[in-house]
């Protein structure tokens, strides 16, 4: 049963990736300009280069051949070169993606750490003052646009109080070699005299972007946890347990929590796509050198190969993350495996 479920998911995944690749492939024809430029990223193609490139990209051949050659190149890591930097796009993505991932992971972690307990508290004290306070804050957090919150934070903590830096991952005077692309890990791995200071400095740089980025998912998680907790608390087995005279903490931690968290786990996975979208905005505002800022810069520079590559990388990642979360969820919740149709 479980195998069949996993198989269905993987088929679905392949289908999604197929659609995505077709869309990305067609972008080089939909973008303004010559498809050859858009595909290769070479801008001023000389006469003799033109033939070689046409052959490489199979431009004379049928659209299907072109598509397969596109797939072949993508899978070999040949994503063309960027108009702006004239360097391979794949290298850019490999260099920038960890920064985005790092930020998104910390934000997700923060929202789990704060969101779930807050949601449980809120449900446990349903319609009492802790619930009311948390509800009000959630509503506030929900309705605050992330860019506005980011600017407010910068205004207050950076410009007014001068406590925190407003841009980048670590003070540029600290020279940290790139190993994993995750700044905190890189600092720990590095062999520099100012390791401790650099680590603290990196945390200071991380603080504001993480708070800003985690706001929205935290609010979502609070609401989800609260609602699902309330739903579970209404169930008959809980009522029975209560009738038997269990205390509130026993009730919640022993009986209700596990069941209430199941939909929340699924939600955590689904939050990843929102998170990456919000991360782009956060990156631009905090000059965080991640893929989002690069993608937005590329759009501004009409760097078509870069836009294409960036979209492909980000979307593939989100699809993979969603499917993984879904599979994880089915591991925890056997009932969900009984769905006859796959969905994302």
């Amino acid at each position: 049963m479980a195998l069949e479920y996993i198989f269905r998911r993987i088929i679905l995944l392949c289908f999604m990736l197929l659609l995505l690749s077709i869309f990305t492939f067609s972008l080089s024809f939909l973008f303004p300009g010559d498809p050859l430029n858009n595909l290769s990223g070479v801008q001023n193609i000389s006469f003799h280069e033109s033939d070689a490139l046409s052959e490489k990209y199979k431009l004379g051949h049928s659209i299907l051949t072109q598509y397969f050659s596109f797939i072949e190149r993508i899978s070999h890591g040949d994503w063309g070169i960027s108009f702006a930097s004239q360097e391979p796009i794949f290298d850019h993505i490999v260099a920038l993606f960890p920064a985005t991932l790092e930020l998104a992971l910390y934000a997700l972690l923060a929202s789990i750490i704060f969101g779930i307990p807050a949601g449980i508290t809120s449900a446990a004290y349903y319609k009492k003052w802790p619930d009311k306070i948390i509800n009000t804050l959630t509503l506030l957090g929900y309705s605050t646009p992330v860019f506005w919150l980011a600017l407010l934070m910068i205004m207050f903590f950076c410009l007014q109080l001068g406590l925190l830096p407003m841009s980048g991952r670590v003070s540029l005077l600290y020279e940290i070699p790139d190993v994993t692309g995750f700044i905190l890990i890189d600092i720990l791995l590095s062999d520099v005299s100012y390791k401790f200071n650099a680590f603290i400095d990196a945390i200071k740089h991380l603080l504001l972007p993480t708070i800003v980025l985690s706001t929205y998912p935290t609010m979502v998680l609070i609401r989800f946890t609260r609602d699902s907790m309330l739903e579970v608390l209404e169930k008959n087995y809980i009522k029975t347990a209560r009738a038997k005279g269990l205390s509130r903490s026993q009730l919640i931690f022993r009986h209700a929590l596990r069941n209430a968290l199941l939909p929340v786990i699924k939600q955590i996975g689904l939050q990843f796509s929102t998170l990456i979208t919000l991360a782009m905005i956060t990156e631009v505002i905090f000059s965080w050198p991640g893929i989002g800022r690069w993608l937005i810069d590329s759009i501004y520079q009409r760097d078509f190969p870069a836009i294409q590559g960036g979209l492909l990388a980000v979307s593939t990642f989100i699809i993979l993350a969603t499917v993984t979360a879904d599979l994880m969820h089915s591991l925890f919740d056997p009932i969900s495996r009984n769905q006859t149709h796959g969905k994302i």
């Binding site: 910068i154 950076c158 200071n197 690069w294 520079q301």
Partner: protein
């Protein structure tokens, strides 16, 4: 609850790291740069934003110009002599100059005549293996016609080199003293030839300047270390880091949070914020520059000088001076700034007169109006602190005479690249002088050679005008040269391939603990002597 915990965390963090960061800070300087460098070799660009990052930091030139007196000063050349017919110039070179030792190159010999010969032959000699590396375009040298001027460069001995010219040209020495005429290492070039990575000459620079290249991450940073064996004076900073921050508001914010120590070109509107802070000083320097509005004279309807004049009459420059320069600029009365010795105020300068503009358009048969693109630079430059705003003002002025303006913006390096392809209708641009010689405002901007290599934003080529310029260069009699430049100025204002708008002031903001940053009235910034207290 989470806010509370973060609050405490912030307090703890700031307490214990302030001192540590200060230590690291005092050895390094962060300069907030406006754009990525297009190359690390100033020979192949005329972009001020790139020159500021490279020329005075990584390299030296044979000679330089004293910003105050206009005299030539020795740099890598100890002394020089000019033959009687002024067609041969011989330089005696310093013997104690070392090139950078970097991760990718270790010099085995000091700087000598071979380096000079190699550097200049790259520019002019099509047989030099490096000539076509990076496109084979040397915009500054080509637009002033230096490639047509130098007959040969001869190594007389290891430390003596002479230039033979076809003509005696009065601006030759000042061109050799510009930020573009830096000296590369011939030995490094040889090594790259062996490893067949010729393009690294421009991407991984080796020079003799006060700092040496360490690292460059596009859109993020450039890192230089100090050159321990710098020949001129000890270098105080251990590290020089450029934080690449295209957005000018972000640059100012970074100044306020001390993430940057120096930033060039703060907007006039931001000056009051900076002035109110005690920890930031603003340097202000008059600068030889012009901001202009260039028309693509090869494209209809801008090929008609009546249309150009009509557009010039239609815009209210007083309003621009007020709103864009915030009264920190000087209105131009010619294509030369009035501090140049060849300056002459032009009577023909178009004034604000929409009525006349409409009449001119009628003569040109365009009374119905038309649509046009106006390209506005995305970065603040000395000559135009806010091109976007200027474009909007022009847009609203032109609307009154029935012309619909579409404002076009690109990222700065893309902007320049597309401009060189002459893809524009009209563009707001400008020029900062590299030498005090008046030719610097004509040949690189409006000559036919400049039109060919794309630096002539007006795409204007008039042989008569070119003749005037070369006549002016053929003599060293100041009075005669003046006469020719007067004529050239008249011609420009008569034909209006571009409309000179204003001369801006150069501003630079730095933290008060930073000293000795040199900004001159021409050329790029020098951080050679910069230090932190």
């Amino acid at each position: 609850m989470n806010k509370f915990i973060f609050g405490i965390a912030i307090l703890m963090l700031t307490g214990c790291t302030e001192q540590a960061l200060k230590n690291q800070n005092s050895h390094g300087l962060i300069y907030c740069a406006e754009a990525n460098p297009v190359s690390f070799n100033p020979q192949i660009t005329t972009l001020g934003s790139t020159i500021d990052l490279t020329s005075n930091q990584l390299y030296n030139r044979l000679i330089s110009i004293d910003a105050n007196t206009g005299e030539f000063l020795p740099e890598l050349a100890k002394s020089w002599e000019i033959s009687k017919d002024r067609k041969k110039i011989t330089f005696d070179l310093r013997e104690d100059v070392q090139f950078h030792q970097t991760d990718y190159f270790t010099p085995t010999r000091n700087f000598n005549a071979d380096d000079v010969v190699f550097t200049f032959s790259r520019l002019f000699d099509a047989y030099n293996p490096y000539h076509f590396v990076g496109g084979g375009q040397y915009p500054y040298f080509q637009s002033i016609g230096l490639d047509q001027l130098i007959k040969s460069i001869i190594k007389e001995s290891d430390y003596r080199v002479s230039f033979e010219l076809f003509d005696a040209q009065s601006s030759f020495l000042s061109n050799i003293a510009t930020d573009f005429a830096i000296i590369l290492s011939a030995e490094y070039a040889k090594n790259l030839e062996i490893s067949e990575t010729l393009e690294n000459l421009d991407n991984y620079p080796v020079g003799t300047g006060p700092y040496k290249f360490k690292d460059y991450k596009r859109d993020i940073l450039i890192r230089y270390y100090k050159h321990e064996q710098y020949w001129k004076h000890p270098v105080e900073l251990e590290q020089l880091v450029y934080d690449i921050t295209p957005n000018s508001t972000t640059r100012i914010a970074k100044m306020l949070t001390h993430e940057c120590d120096v930033t060039p070109h703060p907007n006039s509107s931001q000056l009051s914020i900076l002035a109110s802070r005690t920890d930031i000083t603003v340097q202000k320097e008059t600068n030889l520059n012009i901001g202009f509005w260039a028309f693509n004279t090869q494209k209809a309807p801008f090929d008609d000088s009546r249309v150009r004049r009509a557009l010039a009459h239609a815009i209210d420059i007083e309003k621009i001076m007020h709103a864009v320069y915030l009264d920190n600029g000087k209105r131009l009365e010619s294509i030369l700034p009035n501090t140049s010795w060849a300056y002459q105020a032009q009577v023909n300068m178009p004034n604000y007169n929409p009525e006349l503009a409409r009449r001119l358009l009628q003569q040109a048969g365009l009374i119905e109006g038309f649509k046009m693109d106006l390209w506005a630079m995305p970065v603040a430059r000395i000559y135009n602190p806010n091109a976007r705003k200027m474009a909007e003002l022009i847009q609203s002025d032109l609307k009154k005479i029935g012309i619909t303006v579409n404002i076009v913006e690109y990222e700065w390096n893309t902007f320049i690249k597309k401009l060189e392809e002459h893809a524009h209708d009209t563009v707001l641009l400008g020029w900062s002088a590299d030498t005090p010689d008046p030719d610097n405002f004509f040949s690189p901007l409006l000559s036919c050679a400049a039109a060919l290599n794309g630096k002539n934003a007006a795409n204007w080529c008039d042989p008569e005008f070119d003749l005037l310029l070369s006549k002016a260069l053929d003599t060293i009699e100041i009075e005669q040269r003046k006469e020719f430049y007067f004529q050239a100025q008249q011609m420009v204002i008569q034909e209006l391939p571009l409309l000179p708008i204003a001369q801006g002031m150069r501003f630079q903001a730095s933290s008060t603990n930073v000293e000795n940053i040199e900004i001159k009235s021409f050329g790029g910034v020098s951080l050679a002597k910069a230090r932190k207290r």
